[in-house]
C-alpha cells in the first residue's frame, strides 16, 4: 500500500480510467462473480513473491475464459487503462505488481488441462494450470514436462511463459522457451491470436520466442501447448563435500571439461550449510562446500559417466563422496538443497536473496569479491548456486530491527549485481527483471539496446497498456532500491521455496 510511484510509469490521465462506470462495465462484461472490489480481498493481489513492492489494486478481474480476458482487455484499451496479468503470484521480481490506476487480470480460473496428446508428445493447458500438474497428467504414461522451477507445485504455466522459467535441470534441458510449441494470446487491443514457435516450425521471426520471457509486457497468454519428454531411464545423484568452495568449483570445471553435461550441478557454501543442517537435517557431512551432481539418461551411459564424475570429485579433493543409493536417499540430498533458502531463518532474522549470473569460469573470482564485500559490510552472506550455469543466489543476512541494516542489505545486493555485470554476466538468471531490477537494466544494456526492445514492445502494444513499468527503467520518482527479502505466504506455508 506504499510506494505507488514505483513500477507504475503510467500517466495521471490513464489513472482516471478506473472509475465506477469502468467497474460496472467490467461486471457487465465478465460477470459479477469475476470482479473483485472488496478491500480485504484486494489485499491478496497487492504483491507477488516479492512482497516489499506492493500496491493495492482498485479492482481485480478473474475471467474464466479467453473471451473474458479479451473483454477485460478491450475495455482497458478503450479507456486507456493499463493492466497486469497475474498467474499464481509466485514471481520473485514484482512482475505481477499491480500498476497504479490499473487493472489486475487474474488467470487462476483459467485452469483447465485442455488436451493431453501422448502420441504427439504435447499437452495444451490454460495459463492457470500449475507447472507440476502437467507432469502429473503425463507421468502415468512415462512422460514429464522438463522445466521445473522449485515453485513448480504452485507456479502457473502462464507465469512460466511470462518469466521463461527454468529450474535446477535447465543446464541440460533448457528453459520454458525450449518447450513451448504454441500459444493463444490476447494482445493489448483485445485481439486473440494464435502463435506457433520456431520449435513448431512457424516460418518468419520467432514472435513467440520473444513473447516468452517478456514478463507480461507484450500479451496475455490464454492457452499454452508444451512438449513433453520421455522420462530418462536412469537418474544418479551424488554429493561431494569439500573444505573450500574453489575445490568444489574445480570439480565442476573438470566435469564439464570431460564432456559431461549433468542434469544438475549445485553448490552450497558453509554459511548456508549451517542453516540447512539446522532446518531440514539432511545429514550432510561437515564441509565448507557441498557439491551435488545429478546425471540422467540411458542406464549404460549414466553408469559410465557417473563413475567418471565420482573420480573427478575425489581428485578435486573431496573429503567425502556420497552416492544416492535409493530414491529416498536422493530425495534427502535434494531436500537439503531445495530447503536452502527457507532454512536461512535459522541463522538470521532476515535475509535478502539475489539472482545474478556469471560465466562459470568467473565463479571463483566473483565469490572472492563477495567474500571481501562480506568482510567490508559486516553482513553474513551465504551462497547457494547453480554451478553448472553460473547462476548465483547470494543470501544476504541482516536484522531489520537494527537501524540501517535492511538498506545496507539492499545495497549489498546491488553491489553483487555489479560484480556479475563486471564479470560479463547477467542481472538475472531466472527471477526476472520485473519491477525489482528495472532500474539496473542500463548496467547491462545501452540506451540503444533498450530503445530497440521498446520499439518491439510498441509493435505488440502501441498504447503501452500491457504491464507498463516492468522490465524497462522508468525515471525514478523516489530513492528506492530493490529491497530486502520477506518470506512469501507460499513459502511460509511450506508450498514452495526460492531456488
Amino acid at each position: 500500500m506504499t510506494s505507488p510511484e514505483r513500477g507504475g510509469g503510467t500517466s495521471p490521465e490513464r489513472s482516471r480510467g478506473i472509475d465506477a462506470s469502468f467497474v460496472s462495465e467490467l461486471r457487465r462484461l465478465c460477470g459479477d462473480d469475476a470482479v473483485v472490489t472488496e478491500p480485504l480481498e484486494l489485499l491478496t493481489y497487492e504483491c507477488d513473491g516479492l512482497p516489499h513492492l506492493r500496491h493495492t489494486p482498485p479492482v481485480v478481474v478473474l475471467p474464466s475464459s479467453a473471451e473474458g480476458v479479451q473483454a477485460a482487455v478491450r475495455l482497458c484499451h478503450r479507456r486507456d487503462v493499463p493492466f497486469v496479468a497475474r498467474g499464481h503470484g509466485s514471481g520473485l521480481s514484482g512482475g505481477a505488481l499491480p500498476i497504479p490506476g490499473g487493472l489486475v487480470i487474474g488467470l487462476a480460473r483459467l485452469n483447465r488441462v485442455l488436451d493431453v496428446d501422448i502420441p504427439n508428445r504435447r499437452v495444451t493447458v490454460e495459463p492457470g494450470v500449475t507447472n507440476l500438474e502437467i507432469t502429473r497428467r503425463v507421468a502415468p504414461h512415462g512422460f514429464y514436462y522438463a522445466p521445473d522451477p522449485s515453485s513448480q507445485q504452485v507456479c502457473s504455466i502462464g507465469g512460466n511463459v511470462a518469466e521463461n522459467s527454468g529450474g535446477a535441470h535447465c543446464l541440460k534441458y533448457g528453459f520454458t522457451v525450449h518447450h513451448v510449441l504454441g500459444v493463444e494470446a490476447v494482445l493489448s487491443n483485445g485481439d486473440l491470436v494464435q502463435l506457433d514457435s520456431a520449435i513448431a516450425d512457424a516460418p518468419g521471426p520467432d514472435l513467440l520466442g520473444v513473447l516468452i520471457g517478456s514478463e507480461g509486457t507484450l500479451a496475455i497468454v490464454t492457452k499454452v501447448t508444451v512438449k513433453i519428454l520421455r522420462k530418462p531411464e536412469a537418474v544418479q545423484t551424488l554429493l561431494a563435500a569439500y573444505d573450500n568452495i574453489p575445490a568444489a568449483g574445480t570439480a565442476v570445471s573438470e566435469i564439464i571439461a570431460a564432456g559431461i553435461i549433468p542434469a544438475a550441478v549445485e553448490i552450497m557454501d558453509g554459511v548456508s550449510l549451517v542453516a540447512i543442517e539446522a532446518a531440514v537435517h539432511p545429514h550432510f557431512p561437515p564441509a565448507e562446500a557441498i557439491l551435488i551432481v545429478e546425471l540422467d539418461g540411458p542406464v549404460a551411459e549414466v553408469r559410465e559417466q557417473f563413475a567418471e564424475v565420482e573420480k573427478i570429485c575425489h581428485r578435486a579433493g573431496a573429503t567425502t563422496v556420497e552416492v544416492a543409493q535409493s530414491e529416498e536417499h536422493r530425495a534427502r540430498i535434494w531436500k537439503g538443497r531445495k530447503g536452502a533458502f527457507a532454512s536461512m531463518g535459522r541463522v538470521t532474522p532476515n535475509y535478502y536473496v539475489q539472482d545474478g549470473v556469471v560465466p562459470r569460469t568467473k565463479l571463483p573470482e566473483v565469490l572472492d569479491r563477495i567474500r571481501q564485500l562480506e568482510a567490508r559490510c559486516g553482513l553474513r552472506i551465504g551462497n547457494v548456486f547453480h554451478a553448472g550455469d553460473g547462476n548465483l543466489h547470494p543470501l544476504i543476512c541482516y536484522d531489520e530491527k537494527i537501524p540501517g541494516q535492511s538498506d545496507l542489505a539492499a545495497q549489498v545486493g546491488g553491489e553483487i549485481l555489479q560484480y556479475c555485470i563486471d564479470a560479463g554476466g547477467s542481472l538475472t538468471g531466472e527471477h526476472g527483471i520485473g519491477a525489482d531490477k528495472a532500474e539496473y537494466m542500463p548496467k547491462m544494456f545501452t540506451d540503444d539496446d533498450l530503445d530497440v526492445m521498446l520499439a518491439v514492445r510498441r509493435a505488440f502494444d502501441p498504447k503501452g497498456l500491457c504491464n507498463p513499468g516492468k522490465v524497462f527503467p522508468t525515471p525514478r520518482l523516489c530513492g528506492e532500491v530493490p529491497g530486502p527479502y520477506h518470506a512469501h505466504p507460499i513459502e511460509k506455508a511450506g508450498l514452495g521455496e526460492r531456488f
Binding site: P119, R121, L187, G204, D206, G213, G259, S426, V456, A459
Partner: protein, 432 residues
C-alpha cells in the same frame, strides 16, 4: 532447373531468381555494415543480406535488388570460452570453419547444413537445421546473445554471454527465422556442446509405411535417447540415377548406402554416447525396429551417410517444400508421398521423424508441384507451416512461398515496421 554447384549452393539463374543486384558490397566491420544500412535506408535502396550464398533462392522473387550486403569479411571466431562452453562468432564465419576451431577443445556448435558454405548468420536468419535437431534443437535454441545492425545505422545487442539469462527481451529469437528482413546479424554467441565420445547409426529399412511407423512408435516410446531419428522415403540412389549423374558437386550419394535403399522407406537412427554405452543403444534400437532390414554404419561411413542424406534432396532436381506435421501423423505423410508418386518423375521425403518436420522434394511439371503445395496446405489438421524453399520462378510466381502466416502475419509486419521502417531489408522476399 537449378542444380548444386561446387560450393553447395545453387547455380541457377544469375542473381536472385534471375534478378541481378545493382551492387554488392563486403563491409569489413560491424560498424561498416551499420553505416551501409543507414546509407541504403536514406536512399530507400532494397538490401539483401548474403552469407555463404547457399540459400539465396529462398523467399519470394524480388522485383529488384539494389544492394547485396555480403558478410564475407566478418568471418572471425571472436571468442571461444571453452571452459564456459560458449563461443562468439561473426556472422560471415562458415559453420564448418567454426566447428573445426571449436573442435580443438573437443567442443562444437551442433548446427548442421546441407551446404558447405553455410554461415552462422545464414543459419540464424533461416533457423535452418539438420537431423541433429532431434537432440540439440535449431540455431535459435543454441543462441544466447546477438549483435545486429539496424537500418538506422545503430548496432545493438540482446542476450549476453551466459547460458542462463532472462534480462530484457530475447531479440535473438526474433531475428531467428527472420530471413534478413529485420536487421543484419553481425555476431552471435552460442552455447556449445562437447563432441560426443562415440557415435553410430542404424539404418532401418521398411517395406511399408505401417511397419515404419510402428517401429518409430516403439522407439520413441522407449527410453532410448537418440541424437537423430530421421525418416527418408522415396527413390533410392538407383531410381534417382539419371539425375544424380547431373550433380556437379560432391560424390554421389549411393556410395554410402547399403541394401536397405532398395526398400521404399527407412529410418536413420543416430546414437551418440560414451564408447562403453554406445552398443547397448544400437542393440536396443535393432530390437525395437521389428520387421526392418537393419544396417549399422559407423566411422567415416557414418559421417558420409549423414552428409549424403542431408544433401540428397538439394542435389536432385525439383521443388523443395519444408513442412511440419503432427509426429503421430507420419503415416499420413508417407501416404501422401505414395499417392503423389504415381504422377511425378521423382518424389522424396527427408525429415525429423520424431519431431514431425522435413523436406519434400517433388520433381514434376509446375502444375503438379503447385497442386502438392495446395494439398499440403489444405490439410491443416495434419500439416502445418508449408514453405516452398526451392522452386522455379514459374512455380514461385503462382503461389506464395511462405504460405499463410496467420496471426503472425500482422504482428510480424508491425515488428518489421518498428525495426525497418523504410522496408528495405529483403523487400518483397522475406516472410515479413
Amino acid at each position: 532447373m537449378p542444380v548444386e554447384d561446387r560450393r553447395g549452393g545453387l547455380s541457377g539463374p544469375p542473381g536472385i531468381d534471375g534478378v541481378v543486384p545493382r551492387e554488392t558490397i563486403e563491409p569489413p566491420s560491424a560498424d561498416a555494415v551499420a553505416a551501409a544500412l543507414a546509407s541504403a535506408s536514406k536512399q530507400r535502396a532494397s538490401v539483401v543480406i548474403r552469407g555463404g550464398g547457399t540459400k539465396m533462392g529462398w523467399g519470394r522473387t524480388p522485383a529488384s535488388v539494389d544492394l547485396v550486403l555480403s558478410t564475407k569479411r566478418l568471418n572471425a571466431l571472436v571468442a571461444h570460452e571453452h571452459a564456459d562452453l560458449t563461443a562468439t562468432v561473426q556472422a560471415g564465419a562458415r559453420l564448418d570453419d567454426v566447428n573445426r576451431a571449436l573442435g580443438r577443445h573437443g567442443q562444437w556448435l551442433p548446427i548442421e547444413s546441407a551446404f558447405d558454405e553455410a554461415t552462422i548468420g545464414g543459419a540464424i536468419a533461416t533457423n535452418d537445421s539438420g537431423p541433429l535437431r532431434h537432440r540439440y534443437g535449431t540455431p535459435r535454441d543454441l543462441l544466447i546473445g546477438i549483435r545486429v545492425a539496424l537500418t538506422d545505422g545503430r548496432l545493438i545487442k540482446a542476450g549476453g554471454n551466459v547460458v542462463k539469462n532472462v534480462a530484457g527481451y530475447d531479440l535473438g529469437k526474433l531475428i531467428s527465422g527472420s530471413h534478413g528482413s529485420l536487421a543484419a546479424i553481425v555476431s552471435a554467441t552460442f552455447k556449445l556442446s562437447p563432441q560426443p565420445g562415440a557415435s553410430s547409426t542404424l539404418v532401418a529399412s521398411f517395406d511399408g509405411a505401417d511397419a515404419l511407423t510402428a517401429a518409430l512408435a516403439a522407439i520413441t516410446s522407449s527410453q532410448l535417447e537418440a541424437a537423430a531419428i530421421d525418416v527418408h522415403a522415396g527413390p533410392g540412389p538407383a531410381e534417382a540415377g539419371p539425375h544424380v549423374s547431373h550433380v556437379a558437386g560432391g560424390p554421389p550419394a549411393h556410395e554410402y548406402v547399403g541394401a536397405g535403399f532398395s526398400r521404399p522407406s527407412r529410418l536413420l537412427l543416430k546414437f551418440e554416447s560414451t564408447p562403453g554405452a554406445l552398443q547397448a543403444h544400437v542393440r536396443q534400437a535393432r530390437a525395437l525396429a521389428a520387421g526392418a532390414m537393419c544396417e549399422e554404419v559407423a566411422g567415416q561411413s557414418e559421417t558420409d551417410l549423414w552428409r549424403a542424406h542431408m544433401r540428397r534432396p538439394w542435389q536432385s532436381p525439383g521443388m523443395i517444400v519444408k513442412f511440419a506435421w503432427m509426429p503421430a501423423s507420419l503415416g499420413a505423410v508417407l501416404a501422401l508421398v505414395e499417392d503423389v508418386r504415381a504422377s511425378v518423375t521423382g518424389i522424396e521425403l527427408s525429415g525429423r521423424a520424431a519431431i514431425g518436420s522435413g523436406l519434400l522434394r517433388v520433381d514434376a511439371d509446375p502444375r503438379v508441384q503447385r497442386n502438392v503445395v495446395e494439398r499440403l496446405r489444405s490439410r491443416t489438421d495434419v500439416f502445418r507451416h508449408v514453405v516452398v524453399l526451392r522452386a522455379d520462378t514459374a512455380v514461385k510466381q503462382q503461389l506464395d512461398v511462405w504460405g499463410p502466416l496467420g496471426d503472425a502475419g500482422a504482428l510480424g509486419a508491425s515488428v518489421k515496421h518498428a525495426l525497418d521502417p523504410q522496408g528495405i531489408l529483403n523487400a518483397g522476399r522475406g516472410p515479413v
